[in-house]
Symmetry: C2
Subunit: 129 residues, 2 copies
DNA sequence: ATTTTAATTGACGTTGACGTAAAAGTCAAT
DNA sequence: ATTGACTTTTACGTCAACGTCAATTAAAAT
């Protein structure tokens, strides 16, 4: 109980097992192994996969995501480490905020475009009376 | 006046000329040509490039961006065409909205993480008194 | 016990999004 | 008119992010 197999995760997140192994190759996931060598994923690893996939959806590269995930993994005991982490976290949050703003702009542009088309459509319909 | 060369755009948007030609190969841009065959870009083409690059920043593929740009290019005169366009536009706007929501979630997660680290850091500092 | 299903590593293949180099033509400046 | 910067097409190269076998081993189902 409490452990997931590779295909559990593959099914849950709709990715291939190859993909999950690839993320491990790249150092993003670190499952434990059974005696016979099969991978077992804890809830934490599952959470990491979730984060990876979310990151991917915004176009972050695996390398960037790797850096983000480091926040979960590294040993953050010393003060220096904590400070570095906090600083890095602020930076990343800022990046995300910028992306959000950018997306809002895109949305606004698309909405303007759409309302123009809608107007034209109404004109068409008025004409048809 | 009013026309841009390929390197004008390359400089303005910090992309290579190869990239711009590639977008044309993929049907995303359609510059006009001089007598001798050199590409000239109108303001509209420039706007399209801007949109392409914005789209890229959110991880949309060129194929997806192509679909979005079609809103600018196609001949949208008939009622049917207009209706299709409006419907498609709504769909795309919804997709963008979902991405924004997703990013906001990510931001919230990161902020929660960060405040945890900040708390630990304060504890560290208190201890140091 | 044996068939079926799932897991492992290894290696090669593929696709998207360009980079890079070559050969030839064009434009602007001197 | 020649130099040098810029452009064109063609073509091969590259890198990330996987896909797709293949051969082998392990687990689950019957």
């Amino acid at each position: 109980m409490g452990y997931f197999t590779i295909s559990d995760l593959a099914q849950e997140f709709h990715v291939s097992t190859r993909t999950i192994r690839y993320y491990e190759e790249r150092g993003l996931l670190t499952p434990i192994r059974t005696e016979s060598g099969q991978r077992l994923y804890t809830k934490k690893e599952r959470a990491k996969l979730k984060l990876i996939l979310r990151g991917k959806r915004f176009g972050f590269s695996l390398e960037e995501i790797h850096e983000m995930i480091a926040l979960f993994d590294e040993d953050r005991t010393g003060k220096k480490q904590l400070e570095k982490t906090v600083e890095y976290g602020r930076k990343k949050i800022k990046e995300v905020s910028e992306r959000i703003d950018d997306l809002l702009k895109l949305k606004a542009e698309m909405e303007a475009l759409l309302s123009d088309f809608e107007k034209r459509l109404r004109e068409w319909e008025d004409r048809a009376e």
